[in-house]
Amino acid sequence: MKDKSSVFRLFAFIFRHYKGQIALVAVCILVSSLTSLASSLFTRTLIDDYITPMLNRPSSLFGGVGIGPDYHPLAIALVKLAAVLLAGIVAGFLYNLLMIKVGQGTMKLLRQELFAHMETLPIGYFDSHSHGGIMSVYTNDIDTLKGVVGDTVPRLAQSVVTIVATLVSMLVMNLPLTLVSVLIAFVMYKITTGLGKLSKKYFKQRQENLGIVNGFIEEMVSGQRVVKVFCRERQSLEHFAKINEDLRSSVFNANKISNIIMPLNGNLSNMGYVLMAIIGSVIAIGGNGSWYMCGLNGSTLTLGTLVAFLTLHKQLTRPVSHISNEINSIVKASAGTDRFYALMDELSEVDEGKVELVKDGESSWSWQSPDGQKRKLEGLVSLKDVDFGYVPEKQVLHDITLTAYPGQKIAFVGGTGAGKTTITNLVNRFYEIQDGTITYDGFDVRDISKQSLRRSLGMVLQETHLFTGTVLDNIRYGRIDATDEECIAAACLVQADGFIRNLPDGYGTMLTGDGGNLSQGERQLLAIARAAVANPPVLILDEATSSIDTRTEQMIQRGMDSLMKGRTTFVIAHRLSTVMDADYIMVLDHGRIIERGKHQELLDIKGKYFDLFTGNQI
């Protein structure tokens, strides 16, 4: 699929989902274009077939029966016309309704597919792509797709149908006039596209300058406090004045040209009209009879035909300028479809594990192999000779070997970039190891289904993320089927109950914007409560650092402590009390475990740990 253009894929996608509707839409477009043509042709019939014959009959408004003009045929014709027009209106409305369904439905499907796919992507994808970029696929790119699907394509279809139908009726009426009309339309098309090309340069420049100005505004306004502190207002203003003027002049140039297109088209069409009238009259008055002066039906050019022809000529030239516009917007949108499909083509996380977690009783769980064998969930995690790198060329972890027995607490310490967080991200398979094995209760973690694996691991990340919803919803995030009482019990366990009860609506308080209305410490307590309600046998904790005052920290500490009781715990430690309680401390340096043991043992060997502890690291 990759080599096919993304626009093509999009159309194939829509066609697959909306075959029936699209066929109906095509019929509707045909009907409505034909009826609008019929109505414009009616002018001819009106004058030639109904009014002129009436004029020839000497009229007498006061005349006797049968002498006066007979309006009967006209009335019948008008009723017929009304019926045709009504059919056109119904077809047009139906077509609109269908297109709304197809357009919005496609958007819905695309969004759902995109989101569903995004949720399967590995963590690495989110590390290496900017969040703003991902967001913009949902907002900007899908919106441009909507434009193409809902507006551009149907309008293009309509234009083509109108042009073809008009051409056919023109040919039927008169050959040479048709040629003239096509010639004029062609010239108009050329001029429009020529102008379009001319403005392209300016539009590109406008886009660039817009990017520059928006970027500058964004950067400077965000850094406005720094600007003030350094008294750089004057310089920043001077720079802004310059780029602002550049933007103004490029927008002016671009708009100037695009503003010309409309009057130019309109008036070219007017001049064409005059040309047609003159040539038509010359033919009508002078050159009757010759075959090449007739239409396909052999009729000669009459007054009514000429009038109708002029109307048709307008019909032909109107969509010409549209077509080039529509094609342009498809090209523009293709950048959006490219980005959409780029995200859709990202590879999902691999999950070939077959071992599942099954519930035995109230709070006991077992692993079940595909062959039906069961093994109790204990929480024994073991790493053997594990190597890992975020990119194959750059290994960040080397020969990591360690075992955590059920209920043990393993603390990781080490400097920035030593690889502590990385290790914990391997156990839950956020990233795949390059070499070595990780086992969980004897199973290779790759044999365990990811769902089951992650369900058996509780995580408290260093960066807290909360979701829009109530406090209770956020705690329940740990286990969807937890009752309110269980959630509150979990909050009590980790000492979060106190502050929650002080919130305006207690557990029902709405949180928005990543819990922006809570303090850093409170948010962390909620994250801990969330892990507590999940009640996992193995815990991974990444202790938060700084930015929290000592007192809140103490509260969080107590919460974490009660959570860790009785569970196998991996903790990335920043606090002394945490390491002092640990069964094992792993000291990491440049991706290797360089020292391991208990607090006192490590102090005694006076190595790296001793340096870290005494703060003499250089």
């Binding site: 009436m54 759902q112 989101f115 967001m135 000592t550 920290e553």
Partner: protein, 589 residues
Amino acid sequence: MLKTLLKEVRQYRTASILTPVWTSLEVVMEVLIPYVAASIIDKGITAGNLPNIYRYGGIMVVLACFSLLFGILAGRFGAYSSTGFAANLRMAMYTNIQKFSFSDIDKFSTAGLVTRMTTDVSNLQQAFQMMLRISFRAPMNMVSALFMCFFINARLSVIFLIAMAILIVSLTLLISRASRLFRQIFEAYDGLNSIVQENVSAIRVVKAYVREHHELGKFDKAVLKVFTLQVRAETLMALNGPVMSLVVNGCIIAVSWWGAHFIVEGSLTTGQLTSLFSYILTIMSSLMMLSMIIVRLTESFASGTRVAEVIDEKPDMTNPKDALTEVADGSVIFEDVYFSYGKGGGNALSGISLEIKAGETVGIIGGTGSGKTSLVNLIPRLYDTDQGCVYVGGKNVRYYDMEALRNEVAVVLQKNTLFSGTILENLRWGKEDATLEECREACRQACADEFIESFPDGYQTIIDQGGTNVSGGQRQRLCIARALLKRPKILILDDSTSAVDTATDASIRKAFMQRIPGTTKIIISQRILSIMDADRIIVMEGGKVIGFDTHERLVEDCPVYKEIFDMQSHGGNGDFDGPVKEKEVRNEG
């Protein structure tokens, strides 16, 4: 609001007035053309009179040429005035933002200001151009087409009036209904986007708790809501089409019927009938256009209000008359200072009185929200006090020229930013004409020299917007170096070494002692290690100073300080690895 905005038309006034003039002339031409076209048919074609065809054809071509000319002029002037107007608006906002004090910036959020300067301004630019060009054109077109209809045949034109009335009523009904729906759609979209946003940023939580299905359910619900509302709104708007066609086609049939009668009577010509048909289209399409304009203009009204708010905002701090430009020394005095962020909020600081001597090193410690940052922000007058006075160098800060004061009082802000550009350019924010050697010296003091030299491009390394390509600790050190280049009399570090490891932190402080002994140094930190060797330490709680003394004495006298000290040195924040603010910094390619 309108007055503020229209003032910014400034040098584009003539163009703005001329645009509708050209547009009107263009419309006159456009309206005349079908009339002449009718004459071609009546007096030329019907009469079989070629010279008449040439004559009227010639007139029509001339009219078309003029129409084109006026059209081009209108387009040009419209583009000129609207883009100029937008540029002026941006400039006016930006200029005023430069005068904003910190509290003004607080009032408008940063994201809010950016939207106002970008999206809102471009909305206004379009609205302005539309106002000058189309909003004159549509009614003019309608009125003159109607006039021509009456001129051709008054009796038939009554039909148009009725049709117009029907259209106007139904359009207003539709638009008012739809605009309510569109507002709901806006909210639904916000909901949708916030789910995506949360999932992108919290993907680790989602995956750790295996909540993909749950999130999918939430998302589907939000998508369905958007879908339902959109379909409803668009269906409503789609009614426009049939209503419009019904009216237009009804007109055509009615005109055909009565027109035939009048032609037979002899009071109407066939040519006139065809031109009436084209006027029907003109009138109806200008009506549609007018309704569209009204919708768009009401939409941009909101943008206009937001832009005007920024331009009209009176900065709440101004330079005093005869401002002092010399700061005598680095001494600071607070005299019974009270301070709050805006009305409604409680006092961030209350009853602060203290004295810091020039050249002293003062540490500040206290819990979150205890008022540390508020306290130091008053020294360079980033905010004004509510009550009480702050003196720097013996003079009230309100008497100083703000630029002079801030050049002597350097603050390294807690939430600091680097700007896109080279490291050297960023450093020179501190001193515009600083030599490379001066910058190096400052970086050595801030322990930044070493890592800068380790970059392949050294001081010419390009910093990305927001400084995202250097680690948190590196960013903080660069910010300190930048402040040092000012050679201030007072240097304030607001939790500026939180991402720097303890050892580096210590050597930065050591450098301060040795290299800038005369500078008053005020250091805020959560880490007791960073401040315990300061000359004196301010302990804050709940916006009050509860202790101001040396470390030794505070440990004895100040229970809060002692608690912090105990916790951090015994079992509290042992601070093993230097706080890890960011994930492992990885460089791919």
